[in-house]
């Protein structure tokens, strides 16, 4: 790996000063956002430094098992986050399991492609490749899966009677649910599609920007970014597809009934 010049801590403090503006606005307009904003900023800093230290250690020792363990921990947090974002998740272990399993599949395939093709790190399980790449794929898959599953559940809640009207006439449940499944997938993939469409025109992705700032040649950074975007899109697509299929499966049963009762009961 090429070593990039280090950033003085004072510069970070200066950048943090930019937060004074929204903080001031919050106080002025009594938005009540000062506390959450500060907490989020401190959390971000702490989490980034923590993962930096862990990565630093992992890069030194490169133990495959520890790398896998760290990926698993990240996956577990992502699964928890998806469940937390649902207004009405699936009840029991399913609410957590569906999201985690789907993201695990997306992550595995995307990382597999990365290792087998262009990235080819040495050693193949290089923590410096797997962890940052896995994090980016998971972060995006998390958003896609959460959006897709929420859209499906919202659809089933608001159009459940129309679905049941079709079931009552003898339609199979997958036929009755098809429009809702389609819409849920579109919802889940929309951020990915938008990101791909706007990349380079409206915004420069953070990873590429970071690489260029750190001195990598722009065209090299572009190719790396392209690869990462494709891995992210593929991982998110697979994750969302699987999560929607599994959720639809759980919301129906072998008698082709609609099982809204398998969602966590609505809070009163």
């Amino acid at each position: 790996m090429t070593s990039a010049p280090d950033l003085p801590l004072t510069h970070l403090v200066l950048a943090a000063g930019l937060l004074a503006l929204p903080l001031g606005a919050s106080a002025w307009l009594r938005l009540g956002l000062a506390r959450p904003l500060l907490v989020a900023a401190v959390r971000m800093a702490a989490q980034l430094f923590a993962i930096g230290l862990v990565l630093d250690a992992l890069l030194r020792v490169q133990v495959p098992l520890w790398i896998a363990a760290l990926l698993a921990v990240m996956l577990a947090f992502a699964g928890r986050e998806v469940r937390a974002r649902q207004e009405r998740p699936l009840a029991g272990a399913w609410g957590y399991g569906v999201a985690t399993l789907s993201m695990a599949a997306g992550l595995t395939v995307a990382l597999g492609v990365a290792l087998a093709t262009a990235v080819r790190p040495d050693p193949w399980f290089d923590a410096g490749v797997l962890i940052p790449l896995g994090g980016m794929i998971l972060g995006n898959a998390m958003t896609g899966v959460a959006l897709a599953v929420s859209a499906l559940v919202r659809g089933v809640e608001s159009e459940g009677r129309a679905v049941e009207a079709q079931l009552a006439l003898g339609e199979p449940i997958d036929v009755a649910l098809r429009p809702l499944v389609r819409r849920a997938l579109a919802q889940g993939l929309m951020p990915t599609i938008n990101a791909m469409a706007a990349t380079g025109l409206v915004f420069l992705p953070g990873m590429m920007t970071g690489q260029i700032l750190a001195g990598v040649a722009p065209l090299v950074a572009v190719k790396m970014q392209l690869l990462v975007m494709l891995l992210i899109s593929g991982g998110t697509g697979l994750g969302a597809l699987l999560a929607v299929r599994l959720t639809a499966h759980r919301l129906s049963d072998e008698r082709h009934r609609l099982r809204i009762d398998r969602l966590v009961p609505r809070r009163r």
Partner: protein, 214 residues
Amino acid sequence: MPEPFERSEDAGGSGLRVVALRRPGLVAEGFDVAAGECLPVMGPSGAGKTLLLRAIADLDPNRGEVAVGDVARAAVSGPAWRRRVAYVAAESAWWAQTVDDHFAVPQRLVELVPALGLPADSGEWPVARLSSGERQRLALARALVRDPQVLLLDEPTAALDADSVARIEAVIGQCLRRGACALWVTHDAAQAQRLNRHRRLAVNAGQARLERFR
């Protein structure tokens, strides 16, 4: 005045048999509905009438033996069962833009609409334009065009004027003469009498019981 619900003995077709049906909120010990017969279902609101129909249609988890003729529910898939046993909800729901989009063969609807008192071109209407009475009749038509052997009708005439009620009773009467049978939820005692002069199903506090009249 014709008697659409007077059962003819040569109706053919297969009746419905329900034995020890149980689900949360409802128990039905057992009853038969013969081919060509319509069994009124009566009882106060919230007593479990809809739960009963939904359980027979297998739309909610339930236990018990249900059969149409010699076809047991457990022996066929959910969709195959519900093609035999059609449930028409009290409140209709729609999943496409126009009325015709809800019919696999819109021609069948064209044949049926005059009898239901609807204009011949009502199939082309957007669903959003339908009145509640039109929705109710078209939702019934949606089930009838599939020729089910059992009709589970949840207050099919609740929102209708007297003329439309008579038309629907006549249309269902025709289905019965072709060998279908029906459970018909109603709050109208006079209608229940018209549907069946001999017996009805009374649902009270989650208990369904057959009542016979002399």
